[in-house]
């Protein structure tokens, strides 16, 4: 930048009043990464009051300069304008043109914003007020999804079978390794915790019942639900959210294709099918974990343990566990897809959608567990 004029003098500002004219004279070398000289404030403040009618900007003996100098001059012009004082400039051509450029597009009226600081009570209030519209919006989404299921069962859906198969593969087969590890270990833990108490009165054999009923009735489903919230719920929200950012969802809508049918339906259907199947698998892995503890740590024989499991665990627990699992599948799918579909159009919004999807599906799973447990209690099953 103006390398031919480089002098290493400091930036200088001198401001003088000549009658009603306030003259600001700049000189020296200016670099944007250095702060303005101390005289800057006095030079700018001198404009106001004192009967100043006109501002004159002059420059002499300028060394190298960049937008640091420009920022100062533009600030001076802005101050003058806000006081309604006309400005004369007698500056080098380049500076003159840059100042002109900085004011070429006037600030749009009403564009500027002042950051409002809201207090705690106000934020609490608006959060409460947001609950109702939020609920309505979710119910609308739920209605759309229900209608999509209606179209699916009457054979009028736009859903593509390959999407459905891909979704099943993603949330079913590819989740097997992580489900294996978590549920096997969970069975082990359950057996260990139980064994500590039960061996005290020689009732180790009841570990079989503890692990069997515990896994089958509720824990298997909850384990799978939590793992799938993190694995699949988050992925759905991020994927659909990114499609929203890229206008892919709008592209579907403009073709007259319901985005719900295309994106949401196959995923919710796949989860509703796959979570119970994975739960069945998790139940077996959990029992294997309990079996390992019983045989290798508690000295029970394998046939003894299997026999005890079959006798102590009625079949109805398996069915109740599958009911939990089916509900969880729906909850995870709804949370993931809902937050994806309602995602804003920025990278930050996608991150938010993903987080909320996971939080909501885990909270949803726990709430549904409580509800189903109470219902089972009332029905005495």
């Amino acid at each position: 930048m103006h390398a031919n004029q480089i002098k290493s003098s400091n930036p200088q500002i001198t401001a003088t009043a000549q009658g009603t004219v306030w003259e600001i004279h700049v000189s020296g070398s200016w670099r944007m990464d250095e702060p303005w000289p101390h005289s800057a404030d006095a030079a700018l403040n001198g404009l106001e009051g004192n009967g100043i009618q006109r501002l004159r900007l002059t420059a002499g003996d300028l060394g190298a300069w960049d937008t640091g100098l420009l920022a100062f001059l533009v600030e001076a012009v802005k101050r003058a304008r806000s006081c309604g004082i006309p400005v004369d400039t007698s500056l080098p051509d380049g500076l003159q043109r840059l100042i002109h450029l900085a004011f070429a597009v006037p600030a749009k009226a009403g564009a500027a914003r002042t950051k409002k600081h809201t207090g705690f009570i106000a934020r609490l209030g608006s959060a409460v007020l947001d609950i109702l519209p939020g609920m309505t919006d979710f119910l609308t989404f739920l209605g759309d999804v229900t209608l999509a299921h209606g179209r699916f069962f009457t054979g009028k859906t736009h859903m593509r079978w390959q999407d459905f198969m891909a979704a099943m593969h993603e949330c079913g087969v590819r989740a097997l390794p992580i489900i294996s590890i978590t549920s096997l270990l969970f069975g082990l833990i359950l057996a260990f915790v139980g064994a500590v108490q039960l061996t005290q009165f020689g009732a180790q054999i009841y570990v079989a019942g503890l692990v069997g009923i515990g896994m089958l009735r509720v824990m298997g489903a909850v384990m799978v639900g939590v793992v799938m919230s993190g694995r699949v719920g988050a992925a759905y929200a991020a994927l659909i959210g990114t499609m929203q950012v890229n206008e892919e969802i709008d592209a579907l809508a403009t073709l007259g294709l319901a985005p719900i049918d295309f994106l949401v339906l196959p995923r919710i259907l796949a989860l509703t099918l796959m979570v119970p199947l994975l739960t069945l698998y998790a139940d077996i892995m959990g029992i294997v974990g309990g079996f390992a503890v019983a045989v290798f740590m508690l000295g029970l024989s394998p046939p003894e343990y299997i026999n005890a499991t079959v006798q102590m665990v009625p079949f109805k627990h398996l069915l109740i566990g599958l009911i939990y699992a089916t509900v969880f599948g729906v909850v995870i799918g709804l949370a993931g897809c809902y937050h994806g579909m309602r995602c804003g159009r920025s990278a930050q919004a996608v991150g938010q959608a993903t987080t909320t999807a996971v939080v909501h599906s885990i909270v949803g799973i726990i709430i549904m567990t409580a509800i189903i447990t109470v219902i089972c209690n009332v029905l005495q099953v």
Binding site: M1, M32, D33, D66, T67, A71, E75, F103, A107, S346
Partner: protein, 263 residues
């Protein structure tokens, strides 16, 4: 051309070969960008313009050849040396690539915050100035998602200008702009070159802009995968007597539809 950089050049490219894996997108690319040049890299879709730009910006390593910035070999430099070179350049990405979690003033202010010791107030003032130069006065506290595509592009330019770079890379600056905005952007480029002495390297196939403001250019060809023509586009047309668009149309045809243009 010899392999030594031309002494006065801002950027010297010597025998550059660019591609992905074993695939060679272009080879034997050599050119010089002088200080104050408005240098266009142009050619049909898929000829590798944007990839070449990524290599120049230091985002991707070339397969062969040298890139000199003011005589310094970029890829032979230390990590620190490369950072130093990159600090003197600014980039306007095709869609602006603004950080969506920050306001426009924060977007423009971030490079200043990272590279200077200015106070928050001074940074804010510099950011406002750069936004005003790009025609966005008053939009400091808007988020990128709240403004139009053309405005996002101008905000991207304001961010590219944040540190008063000596070299500005622009990727398809007029794509998606209406003809009037595109003209205004061309005027802004000329103005910045004349007043601040910025050197511009622009990837574009907007013929109107190329003929209006280019001081130098290279035309890449997808078939021969190298430079087909070079020089001031107005001289090229005058000397060869061809229709201006022929230069571009002859280069059309692609293997890879500029997959990396949206960064």
């Amino acid at each position: 051309m010899s392999t030594a950089p031309a002494p006065q050049s801002k950027i010297s490219i010597r025998g550059l070969q660019v591609g992905y894996g074993d695939y060679v997108l272009m080879h034997d690319v050599s050119f010089d960008v002088s200080p104050g040049d408005i240098f266009f890299i142009t050619g049909g879709s898929g000829c590798g313009k944007s990839t070449l730009l990524r290599v120049l910006m230091g985002l991707k390593a070339p397969q062969k050849g040298q890139i000199y910035y003011s005589g310094e070999d970029f890829w032979q430099n230390s990590q620190e040396g490369r950072r130093h070179i990159m600090r003197q350049t600014g980039v306007l990405f095709q869609a602006g690539a603004l950080w969506s979690s920050m306001t426009l003033a924060e977007n423009v202010g971030l490079p200043l915050q990272q590279y200077t010791t200015l106070s928050a107030e001074d940074i804010r003032r510099q950011a406002s100035l750069k936004l005003a130069l790009a025609g966005l006065a008053g939009f400091e506290d808007y988020y990128p998602s709240e403004i139009s595509g053309g405005m996002r592009k101008r905000a991207g330019l304001a961010r590219a200008l944040a540190l008063d770079p000596q070299i500005l890379f622009l990727d398809e600056p007029s794509a998606g702009l209406d003809p009037v905005s595109s003209r205004l952007l061309d005027d802004l480029i000329l103005e910045l070159r004349d007043t601040l002495g910025t050197t511009f390297v622009i990837v574009s196939h907007e013929l109107a802009s190329i003929f209006a403001i280019a001081s130098n250019s290279i035309f890449l060809d997808a078939q021969s995968r190298t430079v087909k023509a070079r020089g001031n586009p107005r001289d090229l047309v005058r000397d060869s007597g061809t229709d201006p668009s022929a230069l571009l149309f002859l280069t059309r045809g692609g293997h890879n539809e500029d997959k990396d243009t949206v960064l």
